[in-house]
């Protein structure tokens, strides 16, 4: 069985270039069939593994990849409940999104390029989930960063897309440096990078606390970059330049969850290292910033991107508050409804050719199925039972309340409540009212695009209904609290938010654009939230002034004055020596012979003396 797991990881990774090759020389759309087959196989394997784990198996295998000096680098798989759930989710979602892409990429000239990259990405995500050691996870982490770059900059001829890809890659790479530092530090002190062993060591308190805290913070730094938390989140917004299936797969359902998954995998270690409070705070802060940003943006995908950032923040809040089950269950449930939301948005964007939500109106009459699917996604996002979002968000809110920090709880509560506002703002704006010209030229999506969305809608419902068994898989002896007081408070606040959204965007009582332009306070607030508290600008300013102007200048100066000086100095010394030495070469044969003979004599005396 273990080899099947290896197959499901490495077949997509190594098969991706093959898919491209085969499709380059035969029909391009063969790549879709091949990609479906590969990801479908991985999905089936992952479901089988999930069943196996549900019935009590664990899948482990390890071998030494290579060793040098005294260090042995292992490689292998370790599939327990947590890994199996995320693994299955990633594989199934990957398969569905590949299916969807057939419709979305219909007009592309080189779809095999797309399917190669997507398949490669899916393989590396699966590898991340089943890997049993930190170096393996890091390798797949980097692969995903590469695939993300390739896919965001898929339409490479567009400057904005190319820049966005580079920005994403650089920001996540910056964070990856911290991750690697944390891994190395941990390896040095703990002597092992096997995740199970690290957790055991942490439970037994065998790692010095200072080391554990530093390593945990560094690794969390890597997670911050990958999961788009404050302050390394601007790449996620620009990453919406990529095709929508890419956004659905990478930036909603799988890659950005890698950071959460990392913390979850090493949860005992993180608990021991006392950094959970920091994790929780950053998660709460990111969620808060994201919600405010989502409330004021216009582009569909950017709103959904902020929503992803918010939910990732919530996941970190859940983990940080001490509950592995809360964080990971929200990961799973969020994946289903966020992917659904992105795919439905993809329907809208593909058939109206419009990215700005405020240019579309009344789409429900033209695309009714999409409207319903989108509605299901928004409901699940907002946390309405019986969809999965309700169960996971309620749990996280409860954990945040129990954690005891009032600021964190206030931020989280605000974020949770305002979600329904921006969700329905989007839905009402696009789908209700009378269709305008943009809406009229659309048509309903193809079945190949709708089927995955149906599956996801059903999944989000099922995950909600069957939340207890799923949570039991992730964390044994899970206790899902039902805090009725909290629920009532939250629902009443949500009702208020919903009424506000309904008034503004369904009834359209006020024209919000005019209002924002006229009122100065609202204008300032709008600008701040829109630019996500100017974090992106600050990062750019830092990059320009500190890195480019100072660091780069410094290195350039060192290069010119120190290194070149040394190199030129060597050359100058050589030339000087030559000037002095070449006098010996008189060209006179007798001179040479004389020196030769005298040298021989002197050497003989030296030989006598030394020996």
């Amino acid at each position: 069985m273990e080899w099947l797991i290896y197959l499901s990881v490495f077949l997509p990774i190594f098969g991706a270039p093959l898919i491209w090759l085969i499709s380059e020389y035969t029909d391009k759309w063969n790549s879709w069939y091949l990609s479906l087959a590969v990801t479908g196989l991985s999905a089936v394997i992952s479901l089988a593994v999930l069943l196996g784990v549900a019935t009590g198996h664990r899948y482990e295998h390890s071998f030494t990849w290579f060793s040098f000096g005294g260090i042995e680098v292992p490689f292998g798989i370790y599939v327990d409940g947590l890994a199996a759930v995320v693994y299955a989710m990633a594989a199934v979602l990957g398969f569905l999104i590949v299916m969807y892409s057939r419709g979305y990429m219909e007009n592309d000239e080189s779809p095999h390029r797309f399917f190669m990259k997507v398949t490669f990405f899916i393989g590396s995500m699966l590898g991340l989930t089943v890997s049993n050691n930190l170096i393996g996870m890091f390798i797949f982490w980097e692969f995903m960063g590469l695939a993300s770059y390739l896919l965001i900059a898929y339409w490479y001829y567009k400057d904005s897309a190319a820049d966005a890809g580079l920005k994403a890659f650089l920001m996540t790479k910056f964070a990856d440096a911290f991750l690697l530092a944390g891994i190395i530090l941990l390896w040095w002190y703990a002597g092992t990078i096997n995740v199970a062993e690290i957790n055991h060591l942490a439970e037994a308190k065998a790692i010095p606390l200072f080391v554990a805290a530093t390593a945990a913070l560094l690794m969390f730094g890597g997670a911050v970059g990958k999961s788009a938390q404050f302050p390394l989140f601007p790449w996620l917004l620009d990453a919406m330049e990529g095709p929508t299936p890419v956004s659905a797969l990478i930036h909603a359902a799988t890659m950005v969850n890698a950071g959460v998954f990392l913390v979850g995998r090493l949860f005992d270690f993180f608990q021991y290292s006392q950094v959970l409070y920091i994790i929780m705070s950053i998660g709460a802060l990111s969620a808060f910033i994201a919600v405010l940003g989502a409330m004021v943006h216009r582009e569909i995908k950017k709103i959904i991107a902020f929503s992803t950032m918010e939910n990732l923040g919530l996941m970190f809040v859940g983990l940080g508050a001490g509950s592995l089950g809360a964080g990971i269950f929200h990961l799973v449930s969020h994946a289903t409804f966020k992917a659904l939301m992105f795919l439905a948005a993809g329907n809208v964007i593909h058939f109206t050719h419009e990215k700005d939500a405020f240019k579309i109106r009344g789409l429900m009459k033209v695309m009714p199925i999409t409207a319903i699917l989108f509605l299901i996604a928004v409901l699940s996002l907002s946390g309405i039972p019986p969809f999965s979002g309700y169960f996971s968000k309620e749990w996280i809110l409860h954990e945040a309340k129990e954690a005891g920090d009032p600021i964190v709880f206030a931020l989280v509560l605000t974020a949770a409540v305002l979600t329904i506002y921006y969700g329905f703002r989007l839905w009402f704006q696009i789908f209700t009212g009378e269709p305008n010209e943009v809406a009229k030229r659309a048509r309903e999506a193809y079945p190949v695009m709708l089927i995955p969305q149906f599956v996801l809608a059903v999944l989000t419902l099922l995950v909600g209904i069957f939340h207890k068994p799923i949570v039991e898989l992730i964390v044994e002896h899970a206790h899902i609290p039902h805090d009725w007081a909290l629920t009532i408070v939250v629902f009443s606040l949500m009702a208020l938010a919903f009424i506000l959204a309904w008034l503004l965007y369904y009834k359209r009582v006020i024209n919000t654009e005019e209002l924002v332009k006229k009122d100065p306070i609202l204008a300032v607030l709008n600008k701040t939230f829109y630019n996500a508290f100017f974090v992106d600008h600050i990062i750019r300013w830092l990059a320009k002034n500190f890195v480019v102007n100072f660091l780069a200048w410094l290195f350039h100066w060192i290069d010119r004055n120190v290194y070149d000086y040394i190199v030129n100095g060597v050359a100058k010394t050589a030339l000087w020596t030559w000037e002095k030495v070449r006098v010996i070469q008189t060209g006179d044969l007798i001179h040479y012979l004389t020196i030769f003979v005298s040298g021989a004599v002197i050497l003989y005396y030296l030989y006598l003396v030394i020996l």
């Binding site: 007798i590 004389t594 003979v597 005298s598 004599v601 003989y604 005396y605």
Partner: protein, 158 residues
């Protein structure tokens, strides 16, 4: 006994110096040939008649004639004399060094071995035969090379 040895020694040194210092090249050749013959006498006196015969055949009969041909080709010109003090100094230094070295080695002598012809032949065949064959080919190559050099270059002048 020692007297004859010393006479031989004196002749050798005299002819060597003459070979270097004389200006008329024919006389230089005569001195050179005499020197080679004296050296063969030394070999005879050491008890190696074969070696002496070989020296006579190769050197006195070969190299001296070669030098004669060279002189004939170049011309028995007179040459100017130029002195060099440094050369004398260096030569003296070498002489003294080698003298010290030989003194160090040569004062204690075991009785001279009497090596017969058969023994020489036996050692030659057993140990050095394999060396001689490539050496022979090398010799052929060298002679041919010298011939080639001469023939090529001289043709061009004609």
């Amino acid at each position: 006994m020692l007297l004859y040895f010393l006479i031989l020694f004196a002749v050798v040194v005299a002819t060597a110096i003459a070979a270097i210092e004389l200006t008329n090249l024919i006389w230089v050749l005569v001195a050179f040939a005499t020197l080679l013959t004296e050296i063969a006498l030394f070999y005879f006196s050491l008890g190696f008649p074969l070696l002496g015969a070989f020296q006579l055949a190769v050197y006195a009969g070969g190299v001296a004639i070669l030098v004669l041909f060279a002189i004939l080709t170049i011309g028995e010109r007179e040459e100017e004399r130029r002195e060099s003090k440094l050369a004398a100094g260096v030569a003296l230094a070498v002489f003294i060094t080698a003298l010290i070295a030989s003194l160090w080695m040569g004062l204690t002598t075991k009785p001279y071995l009497d090596i017969s012809l058969e023994e020489i032949g036996k050692v030659f065949i057993e140990k050095y035969a394999l060396l001689v064959i490539p050496l022979g080919f090398t010799a052929i190559g060298i002679i041919y090379g010298a011939y080639y050099l001469l023939s090529k270059k001289l043709e061009k002048e004609e």
